[in-house]
Amino acid sequence: DAMVIQNPRYQVTQFGKPVTLSCSQTLNHNVMYWYQQKSSQAPKLLFHYYDKDFNNEADTPDNFQSRRPNTSFCFLDIRSPGLGDAAMYLCATSRDPGGRSGEQYFGPGTRLTVT
């Protein structure tokens, strides 16, 4: 019954080595979000897709990119991970943007470690 699936759950990468995190959903929601959550902090929105329209947050580093090849899948690419990028990365979906119609459904997250 998994609705938002993230792979892998744990990822270890080396400083500067590109890494891709994946998210898939079975809810057929038109909005997908990527959040970064560091220890004891709130989730911070990196970007979101409304269907195919990509919306980047102003303070999201250029090092972070995203792809959404279809409704079900979304990828987070970190081109050159730094030690400061170590965090939990959460994918979420909603039927419509923000709070206009419904909740956000979160995946279990991928914990990224940078060595």
């Binding site: 902090q41 929105l45 959460l90």
Partner: protein, 113 residues
């Protein structure tokens, strides 16, 4: 700007009540509330929309005062399962097509037997 929650942390005995506040510097269209247990994903609790409505289910309810740009979450007769970190998520009164949530600073709630 990130909404500010108070208190930052609270410890309660099972059966006691709690109030968690969320205050924004921006006008709001809606407020979400989520609970996150350690190492897990946030779980949705409720949404409140502009209009000052108060929602609730079971022993968890919330209010939203858009004039004061504030929301409060009320936990009545707390249970051990209520432990976790609570986040409000706010949606500014923006144009359709670019809505998003900004999560508050969080409140860590610990319920002890």
């Amino acid at each position: 700007q990130q909404p500010v929650q108070s208190p930052q942390a609270v410890i309660l005995r099972e059966g006691e009540d709690a109030v968690i506040n969320c205050s924004s510097s921006k006008a709001l269209y809606s407020v979400h509330w989520y609970r996150q247990k350690h190492g897990e994903a946030p779980i949705f609790l409720m949404i409140l929309l502009k209009g000052g409505e108060q929602k609730g289910h079971d022993k968890i309810s919330a209010s939203f005062n858009e004039k004061k740009q504030q929301s409060s979450l009320y936990l009545t007769a707390s249970q051990l399962s209520y432990s976790g970190t609570y986040f409000c998520g706010t949606d500014p009164n923006s144009n359709f097509g670019n809505e998003k949530l900004t999560f508050g600073t969080g409140t860590r709630l610990t319920i002890i037997p």
